[in-house]
């Protein structure tokens, strides 16, 4: 038995894979994948996992490193090196160019290119953001629920565009109504508003659920 999902307006298509628990009254642990686009038009895939009413995970996969841009950069570096070589007649330049290209590529994959960004929200514990780089390195930040004031969608001027981004507002311990920090989420994937609305709705459900159960002893 497969669970069906209505196609979302703004998304390109959908593909659902749901795992059901034992038949009966238990809610299923759901996982589904949707396609969205980022602010430049590249294709993003949002994977949602619903572990329990108080725990959800959103995984956004960025477009991979394109072969075209890699070839273009490598060719331009090697052409420049060859040009210098014809001027200087020193073969060290060529080996240096190869070395620089390799080190540059490894450094780019390990420090710059983010493959996946994950947001894990656990009611009464906190919100965790993980960035996975192309070389496999993971960098995680965890914010405790006591510090989280709210999750909102904000507008910003980015270069020549106005974009929307999802961010977490942190409490100010000094001032009860103040905000000490704004932490943006999905900074390198930069999805568009339709994707952000999906994530925003789920986060607000969990935060509301958390507030409702915390008020009752």
């Amino acid at each position: 038995m497969r669970a069906r999902e209505r196609p979302r307006a703004g998304g390109w298509g959908w593909r659902a894979a749901a795992a059901l628990g034992p038949r009966g009254a238990c809610p299923p642990a759901m996982e589904d994948e949707l396609s969205f686009s980022d602010i430049y038009g590249g294709r993003l895939a949002l994977q949602r996992r619903h572990y329990s009413p108080s725990c959800r995970e959103f995984c956004l996969s960025c477009p991979r490193l394109s072969l075209r841009s890699l070839t273009a950069v490598t060719c331009s570096v090697w052409l420049a090196a060859y040009g210098l070589f014809t001027l200087c007649e020193n073969s060290m330049i060529l080996s240096a160019a190869i070395f620089i290209t390799l080190i540059g590529l490894l450094g780019y994959l390990h420090f710059v290119k983010i493959d996946q960004e994950t947001l894990l929200i656990i009611d009464s514990l906190g919100i965790q953001m993980t960035s996975t780089y192309a070389s496999g390195k993971e960098s995680t930040t965890f914010i405790e629920m006591g510090k989280v004031k709210d999750v909102i969608i904000n507008e910003a001027i980015y270069m020549q565009k106005v974009i929307y981004y999802l961010c977490i507002l942190l409490n100010d311990p000094m001032e009860p109504n103040g905000i000490s920090q704004v932490v943006p989420v999905f900074q390198s994937a930069k999805p568009r508003l339709d994707c952000l609305i999906e994530v925003y709705r789920s986060c607000q459900e969990i935060l509301a659920h958390g507030k409702a159960t915390s008020t009752s002893p």
Partner: protein, 581 residues
Amino acid sequence: MVLKAFFPTCCASADSGLLVGRWVPEQNSAVVLAVVHFPFIPIQVKELLAQVQQASGVGVAVLGTWCHRRQEPEESLGHFLEGLGAIFSHEPWLQLCRERGSKFWSCKATHRQVPTSPSAPGEDQVMLIFYDQRKVLLSQLHPPTALPDHQAGDATASTRGLAAVFDTVARSEALFRSDRFDEGLVRLSHWQSEGVEASILVELAKQASGPVCLLMAYLLSLISAASTCRVFKLWPLSFICSKLSTCEQLRHRLEQLTFIFSTQKAENASQLMRKANMLVSVLLDVALGLTLLSWLHGKDRIGQLADALVPVADWVAEELQHLLQWLMGAPAGLKMNRALDQVLGRFFLYHIHLWISYIHLMSPFIERILWHMGLSACLGLTVALSILSDIIALLTFHIYCFYVYGARLYCLKICGLSSLWRLFRGKKWNVLRQRVDSCSYDLDQLFIGTLLFTILVFLLPTTALYYLVFTLLRLLVVTVQGLIHLLVDLVNSLPLYALGLRLCRPYRLSAGVKFQVLEHEAGRPLRLLMQINPLPYNRVVHTYRLPSCGCHPKHSWGSLCRKLFFGELIYPWRQRGDKQD
């Protein structure tokens, strides 16, 4: 609210028993520290918990029951476990159960009191969070939370959030002292129940550190007493010592060694890290210095260096002479004032001649001096580099002198020009009011003033050119010295022990935690794995940097340019403790 149960991974395979730990009511979480196995006498368990509470100040209590069903389900055990809830009353009572061969656990938390929420009468949802007890015990959170109270009783007000879990585990060492092989009355299961961990080397080092510290402290006190004797306070020696960077570096190292070998124990973790960082830095320094020493003394390199030194000094002097000849002619096509040019040029040429004679006088002794200075590398690479920087300063002393002469002359000229320019416009500097006021001059005052102003203006290009050339040379020398100082600073202040710890034992320095959701089945409680998120390297260096000599440039770029324009002397490497100019 969901009840969070922090369960140590080492107890996941333990036999059935009682759960012992601390309940944190503000976060609705139960931190399980150990499991007490059957058979036990409840009175003895209560006594043990009271002892631990007395020793550590953590409110340890029996939180619930743990059931690990290895064989066929035993009904009697189930009833027995429920009956225990009556003996050890705790609100809420936790019941964790693990089936044989199943990854999923069942958890229940029951409240005795009448519940007020209509949804779950007497029961809470439970979330299981597994944590590695040993890593959480040894880890240190950055930024450190407020200091916990060491009085008896819970100190919950100061630690918030997950720091409370770290704090609880770290302070419950008294509970982890008994292991499986002890002849105690109560059998506990925790991370050290297979035997208390210890390392022979660490124990030996601890035993040896006492007498070694005493001996080193005594020697160091002798050395510092010798260095503060009256001879060094007399004028020539104290002046020279304050200018040489070698003395500064030696003093810095002496201070560090005194701190390391002081007989007082380190008060808190950050002091201990500082001591460890300093010790590793000193050891590395000495090791690098000995390497340099062995390299220098092999293959007669000192002789080669000494042979090369005098020709290099000669070459520098010759190049300076060429430069001055060029300035005395028509440098870059500019037309200089002939008379002033000749005077300044001859003055500087005579200086160079004096300097060369001095170098030639010293040349027989150079090799001996270098050999003895090379020996100083055994005190450390930083000392050797400081000596190199001082040698460069001494060898380029004539450039420094030229710079001072040129700068003073130029400064005088600029002062005169600005004052006469004011006279030209009919104004005057009011010293009392510290401002420019208008003033009516006599005719002869105006006449002489204008004459002097004209002379100074026409002599300005010559002086300015000499000043520019010698300032550039001086800045070159200062840059080279600055690079050496930067290297010395790096070796002095890099926290190598902290970096090594971050590389080999990343859980010791933690910036926070991270969670991973384990395999989940619908209807079962959510299981999470809590791991330590290690501190990134740049924050390690930033937090644990050692204080360096403090020889940093005090000027910003703007003030530096201003000083250069007005001809004020620059002292870029002010030593710590000197008066500001």
